[in-house]
Symmetry: C2
Subunit: 382 residues, 2 copies
């Protein structure tokens, strides 16, 4: 219950897209009076009809908190408007970039109204979907996600606390970080990976059909987020250019090392005798690049923030028919074994798939036994 | 049954790692006499104990087909040895690169024994795991996967047919392609994505812990294959340097466009008045990069070779407890609705997850109804 201490009574959500409407749904369920606003009358009516809150009227009570869920490139303008319209409200925004929004807010407020900055605390819920708009909204969009809260130097602790309490009320785990720390972090864990995925996927455009047909699960994983919205990502990359550019520069340097190693290898092939003395070096560069990827990958938290290596796994062949996965998980459930993670792999044109079940290491042997006894085709972990 | 026409009676598998042992298991089940060989006595004994075949003896009948499942960098040498040892056998290898192996075989055979080349047909099963060794072998490793068959110019059709028939017998879908076509294709759909994933993951090594903790599902997907084996990938990238380098060069050029756009944007911020006239260009570059990624991503075949857009989806909140997924899929199965694909998303430190269920579009509405009736928290597709 301590998370709800200082929770807001009235929240005004400006911008009723995926994040704004989802937040309205989440807070409404927890008894918050959510007032919706959007430049598009259709968008705000849709969000209201979906249950995200009520449409604002002239004699509304002033909000305790204003959440600006506008696109990143207008967030600062809307924040500044809100600070002026509601002189007692705390104001936050949910843009994926924080330093540039804070700088724009500070610049627009100017020195004479800089006292308003005590009430502004930017934030960023780490929740999103490849789909957008209120129609994709979910009351549980924030459940279990981090919600980064990024107070600037002028923000008062009470303002930061209200934003944290609201994030917790929406189901998220609030994490406080400076705007700069946030931006540097998302540049590496989100923005640069998006660029890499988009560029790798972009290379498929001109590939002949038979070549594309060799695509496997690895490529599907690497490029899943390449389906994201170009306009939104232009705003995000533009807003975080300062932090993203050094990461892309470092990636370009890493890539140049790999390319240089490949060029050396090709030169060796063309003139084997002259280049033989440099034999070890290019292969070392390639192996090191992949090994560094191993090391970085091992740091990524899995479910519940645990390291991915904390789980054991069992691979099961699953026939492609209604209820097959149901029977599998039913059999696991009956044995009291919880599924921690799951990876499905599909063949092409074949009526079977492989399910890789991640469970606590202590449960691996028993799971193999239970599933084998039930007639499943089970493979031990490699 | 036509796939089994001309299937081999005796197959010798040289190299009893993941691929060799899995092939032995698969062919053994179909009545083929599989003879195993490996430079490591322990490895061959392990593969035999796992049921992958029998260990060769001196008076073995000559094989119809020799499958060289050795590491890429020794494949050619072993192929040439096999062509000489068994003068009537067809010989294939399963290395992930084909042109360089063919060139090395041709060069080692020399002009006077070039007649042997009619019996060599390289191939590449598009199957693998992040794990290696016979202990990870699966009889169904090839089920539903493509197995690319790459005859060189000298190979006779009968040899190609025998390799195709064997691939089909192992459960794979044989696809014939020239070695050059194969190498150019895998450079784009497999080798360059591996490099990108490794480099993106490598950037996580020096990140502070709080920053790493913001990692989401997107990063996990992009970097999953970054856990792959450095030695194997050094051999693959070395063997396919000719085809991989141009793809990485193109990616580097694409990346430089994005970096240049970001530099322009930062210069604009530093001196807004002077640079205002160039406003539209850098944002256009960023949007185009992401949009090209959309277009490339849309070409990747999903399960059963169908386009990923062919499915509708339903998102369901799943409590993190034994049997919860079991009940969900049981409820789907009872309704006769087949799960075509599944994506699980996990929160951090929260006892719930989201399951995105992909089903035939015609089943979306009924699935929502069925699951809602059973008490599941269901979200419509966005």
């Amino acid at each position: 219950m301590s998370e709800q201490r200082g929770a807001p009574g009235v929240v005004r959500v400006i911008g009723t897209g995926l994040i704004g409407a989802s937040l309205g749904l989440a807070l409404g369920r927890r008894g918050v009076d959510v007032v919706l606003e959007d430049p598009s009358p259709t968008a705000v009516a849709l969000a209201r009809d979906l249950g995200a809150g009520r449409v604002g009227v002239d004699d509304d009570p002033p909000p305790d908190l204003v959440v600006v869920a506008a696109p990143p490139d207008v967030a600062a303008t809307v924040v500044v408007g809100a600070l002026t319209r509601w002189p007692d409200a705390v104001v936050t925004d949910v843009a994926s970039v924080k330093t540039s929004v804070l700088a724009a807010v500070r610049s627009a407020v100017g020195p004479r109204r800089s006292g308003q900055l005590v009430r502004y605390v930017g934030s960023h819920p780490m929740a999103g979907r490849e789909r957008s708009g209120a129609v994709a909204a979910q009351a549980d969009l924030f459940e279990g996600r981090s919600w980064v809260v990024c107070p600037g130097p002028q923000a008062v602790p009470e303002a930061t606390e209200l934003v944290r309490a609201t994030a917790a009320l929406a189901g998220a785990a609030p994490v406080t970080m400076s705007p700069e720390e946030h931006d540097r972090a998302v540049a590496v864990v989100s923005h640069a990976p998006q660029v890499a995925a988009s560029l790798v996927a972009g290379r498929l455009r001109d590939l002949p059909d038979p070549a594309v047909s060799l695509s496997g699960q690895g490529l599907r994983d690497v490029t899943r987020i390449a389906a994201s919205d170009p306009l939104l990502w232009t705003q995000i990359l533009t807003g975080n250019a300062d932090a993203v550019l050094p990461v892309l520069d470092a990636l370009a340097a890493d890539l140049e090392e790999v390319r240089s190693a490949l060029r050396t290898l090709l030169a060796e092939t063309a003139a084997p005798r002259q280049e033989a003395s440099r034999d070890g070096a290019p292969r070392g560069v390639l192996a090191r690049a992949v090994a560094r990827g191993n090391a970085g990958h091992a740091r990524i938290p899995g479910k519940h923030g645990a390291a991915p290596t904390a789980y054991g796994s069992v691979v099961v062949l699953v026939p492609d028919e209604p209820g097959a996965l149901g029977r599998l998980f039913q059999d696991m459930g009956v044995a009291g074994i919880n599924l921690e993670d799951l990876h499905l792999e599909h063949g092409i044109g074949q009526p079977v798939g492989l399910a890789e079940l991640a469970v606590l290491p202590s449960a691996v042997e028993r799971l193999q036994q239970v599933l084998t006894d039930k007639g499943w085709r089970v493979h031990p972990p490699g």
